[in-house]
């Protein structure tokens, strides 16, 4: 099996993979970082979203081997010195989650949104930009409020 290496949450990691090993499988099963979730496994729900070289991608629809050398950020890499990332904090403050399954993807996608579009996001923009992230609990209302607040604090 080919060996790959990448930087995940700032740490150099390596492991053997098959061609078909998905990036999310590498992250969850090889690295034990189970914060990144697999929801639909059909590229629609966004629970598996991680940052790859700074851009949000669906890690269930990416081959690990194609990401040899990449820099990956998962939800575990967001908190610094025991302090939650402003977007995580905003999801807590605004009750932007219920069961929490979609939350890692929501938080990463929201950070990507701010990185691309800035801190001042309208409700319309947030709703449109969350098209790739599905939540089956909240009805999105508090997620949108959380993204708006988190963006302002980033």
């Amino acid at each position: 099996m080919p060996a790959i290496s990448m930087t995940v949450n700032g740490q150099a990691v390596c492991g053997d993979v098959e061609g078909r090993t998905l990036l999310v499988e590498f992250i969850r099963e090889k690295l034990g970082l189970t914060g990144t979730h697999v929801g639909c496994d059909t590229s629609q729900c966004g629970a598996c979203v991680v940052l790859v070289n700074g851009k949000a991608v669906k890690s269930c629809t990416a081959l690990a081997i194609a990401h040899d050398g990449a820099a990956v950020t998962t939800v575990e890499g967001l908190a610094q010195d025991g302090k939650m990332h402003p977007m995580q904090e905003a999801f807590r403050d605004n009750h932007g989650l219920q069961c929490g399954f979609c939350t890692p993807g929501m938080v990463i996608a929201s950070i990507d949104m701010v990185n691309r579009l800035g801190k001042n996001l309208s409700e319309d923009t947030i709703r449109h930009e969350l098209e790739g992230n599905i939540c089956r609990c909240t009805g999105y209302h508090n997620i949108v409020a959380a993204v708006k607040a988190g963006a302002a604090n980033m």
Binding site: T42, E131, G132
Partner: protein, 262 residues
């Protein structure tokens, strides 16, 4: 997903060589369609030839707009050159899938796959684009040959898509709310050769709506489409929409595309 051998060639020549050596090989660009298809067992190539290391992305605007095959949907959507030359193309790219899909999916991959509900084929046909490959150039009218099929030969790889710049153009789609693919998408362009209307999502593959083009001959305005229609015969009919509903949507989306044209 069945396992496969993975190749990551650094040049187009090496990619073609690798593909020709393995009859069951498949090229992968962004993988946004191929990986889901492989997971479902709809594709099980012996070898994946990843085009990611070719670094074949970029956009150049001149008398025509040339977009290299590995350019992502996000790059097309955000390109100042595309927004200036063919704003409808930037808008189309910005409506494919979702932000995460747009970070990975590429124009070359979408065009080569020719999904009957994909967005880009309608822009290629609607604008009369030319598909550049490692071996030749192919007119869009000759390129899309049916459902998931194209004029590409075994091992042939798209290198760029060249778009003539229209007087104005617009794109409107009625997306399937789950997949974001077009139930019906219409690309309408006012070109030097007259109006062109290309439809995706409604049939077995992208096609030009001649009745709507004739109607727009009276003037490139949505009012010209009043009373115009496309026959429902041969259109797709499935749990999402009947062929009659899709036929209706074609005229509605065509009007919106013309109204949005700039």
């Amino acid at each position: 997903m069945d396992n496969f051998n993975y190749h990551r060639p650094a040049s187009v020549d090496d990619a073609v060589k690798a593909a020709k050596a393995k009859p069951e090989a498949k090229y992968m660009s962004g993988g946004m369609t191929l990986i889901p298809a492989m997971k479902q067992g709809l594709a099980s190539p012996s070898d994946i030839i990843d085009l990611g290391a070719l670094k074949n992305s970029g956009i150049s605007a001149g008398a025509t707009l040339v977009i290299k095959a590995g350019t992502t949907h996000a790059e097309v959507a955000n390109s100042a050159d595309v927004r200036k030359a063919i704003p409808a193309l930037a808008a189309l790219a910005g409506g494919i899938g979702d932000p995460h899909v747009r970070h990975k999916g590429t124009i070359g991959g979408s065009v080569a796959n020719n999904d009957p509900a994909a967005d880009y084929p309608s822009a290629c046909l609607g604008l009369g684009a030319t598909i550049h490959t490692n071996a030749r150039t192919i007119k869009a009218a000759d390129f899309f040959t049916g459902m998931f099929s194209t004029a590409l030969q075994d091992g042939e790889v798209i290198t760029a898509i060249e778009f003539p710049i229209p007087k104005k153009a617009g794109y409107a789609k009625f997306p399937n709310p789950a997949s974001r693919y077009a139930m019906v998408g219409v690309f309408a362009a006012d070109t030097a050769d007259g109006p062109r209307v290309a439809v995706t999502g409604a049939g077995a593959g992208v096609f030009r709506a001649s009745t709507l083009e004739t109607a727009l001959g009276k003037g490139f305005a949505s009012a010209s489409l009043a009373g115009a229609s496309v026959p429902a015969k041969d259109l797709n009919s499935d749990l999402h929409a009947s062929s009659e509903y899709r036929a209706h949507l074609i005229t509605v989306m065509a009007k919106r595309a013309v109204d949005a044209a700039k």
